[in-house]
Symmetry: C2
């Protein structure tokens, strides 16, 4: 896995994102150099190598998938009015809203440029997978925004939203890596399934860290989702589990104007504690993790070839930030 | 040409743009049903038929190019804070800014879905042409926004900006239509050249209509570019042609806060009259028109097959709205 990390690092270090007009490309360069975990290119390369693919064939696809992901972050940050990304000012804050819109649009097209740089026998299928994934990610973001204004979200609505907003892109990255290696369709389907459950576990883990992370390691204040009234898995599970009075209190707390209110965070966390929400969410993570593991087990390649994806999964789910 | 118009109409009438979540797709459906001249799909189909292409092969590409064009309008209207498009409220006004951002992003992906629906021997080349065109259009919009804040725009800066923002998409539509018909590369290059000059003439014509259009036919108030301090061909030509005092006066008039100021419009139009800006711009239109005609003349197909593009050119350049 270390080799893989080095390969991804090398791909991004040697690529140039600056061009003219600089007003358009400087924010793109800034965004793509902010770093991040580079999970999607890692998954794409890992899937490719599992089926004996050729790194030189997927280098551009790795750049493409990460460029697309960063485009969605750029526009999401504008829509959500988030001031920071990876500890740095977001593009719409550092520049302005129009820059965020247009540089984002251009990043989407640059992602396509990467995917179109090379030929491949299954190129149309690869591009279709990329594009249908992009559409689902947009739909997921729309559901996420709808949820802000809707009072009737169920846990299954939430799981469907994070499937679209987060999981399909991890699954898509894996599928694309495997398509480049011309893996058999049956294994590609298993790999996609693995990616979906990995993505769901990953997002639930994110929800957990936001409320229960170790501040020193997490690197930012915990409880932000609670302050923002975000209807996460934790909140919806507490609504489902709580007695009527607890449910009402929770809904009242999540109807206040978002503010830096530490009393509110403490009260919600206390409610979560009483209702064992941490353990219940950890169980949900484990369940998705088992489903992911089952899908990976079923793939018809030597166990030794699965070791990178197994390692990557462990790392992602045992992370503390 | 009437047949072609009917064909384009039929393509858009039979296509459905609604899906779930409706918050995402209703603005897309609204935008794509607002109509418009459908010039890009018309050009794509006309180019395809000129080289004996098959309509069933380019139906999706026609939808794709128009969906992309409408995506750029949707985001441009948000960036420019334009209240109206084709006489109707723009998406960011009818819904909100976030809707305009995300529905726009989705339209870009839907454009790709159309292009990816069918196979073609030259598909990668077609997709590359589409995508590189998209990138140039974004660069053109960035230059257009830069010009607002820059005091040193030359006529050649302006021509380069409208080449990127407008002309390359007309040229790209023609090239894609010809690629589907497997036209020879030499003719495709001529057709692209034709599209560039047609696009430049078209945009200069737009500038002219905004100042000198017949209000009754034009359908909206003339002089809006002057009220908005837009650095159009007319303005830049006047700066280039005018004596120092006239230049200074014009720059002063274009430095006032944009407002519904009819006195300012009258004074600028008077200056344009003194400097013969209308005639000079008409000459520039004619020059681009001649270059376009020359490129079309050089294409190696029967004259009769060029008649649709000739008709279309005449219609576009003799339009009064």
């Amino acid at each position: 896995m270390k080799t893989l990390l080095t390969q991804v690092q090398e791909i991004f270090d040697t690529e140039r994102f600056l061009a003219e007009p600089k007003e358009l490309y400087a924010p793109i360069d800034y965004t793509l150099r902010l770093g991040g975990k580079r999970i999607r290119p890692l998954l794409l390369l890992a899937a490719n190598q599992m089926f004996d693919g050729d790194l030189s064939q997927v280098r551009n696809a790795a750049l493409g998938i990460e460029t697309f992901h960063n485009f969605t972050l750029l526009h999401d940050d504008l829509m959500d009015k988030s001031p920071l990304r990876r500890g740095q000012p977001t593009v719409y804050r550092k520049w302005d809203e129009n820059t965020a819109i247009l540089s984002g649009d251009t990043m989407f097209a640059l992602a396509w440029r990467y995917f179109l740089r090379q030929s491949h026998a299954r190129l149309q299928e690869i591009l279709n997978c990329f594009n249908e994934t992009a559409i689902l990610v947009c739909e997921g973001q729309q559901y996420d925004m709808n949820f802000e204004h809707s009072g009737h979200i169920t846990l299954s609505d939430y799981m469907e939203m994070i499937r679209l907003k987060t999981a399909v892109l991890l699954a898509g990255a894996l599928k694309i890596g495997a398509l480049y290696a011309e893996a058999p369709d049956s294994d590609i389907a298993r790999l996609y399934d693995f990616g979906i459950h990995l993505g769901l576990a990953f997002q639930l883990q994110d929800d957990l860290l936001d409320s229960f992370g170790d501040v020193a390691v997490f690197g930012k204040k915990t409880g932000q989702d609670i302050r923002d009234n975000k209807k996460t898995y934790l909140y919806l599970k507490a609504l489902e589990t709580g007695a009527p009075a607890q449910r009402e209190r929770l809904q009242a707390l999540f109807s206040t104007t978002p503010a830096q209110d530490d009393d509110k965070v403490a009260e919600v966390l206390e409610l979560y504690k009483i209702l064992a929400i941490r353990r219940k969410t950890e169980e949900a993570v484990q369940e998705e993790f088992s489903l992911a593991k089952g899908a990976l087990d079923a793939i018809q390649v030597d166990e030794q070839k699965k070791s990178v994806l197994r390692q990557l999964t462990e790392t992602l789910l045992n992370r503390d930030k």
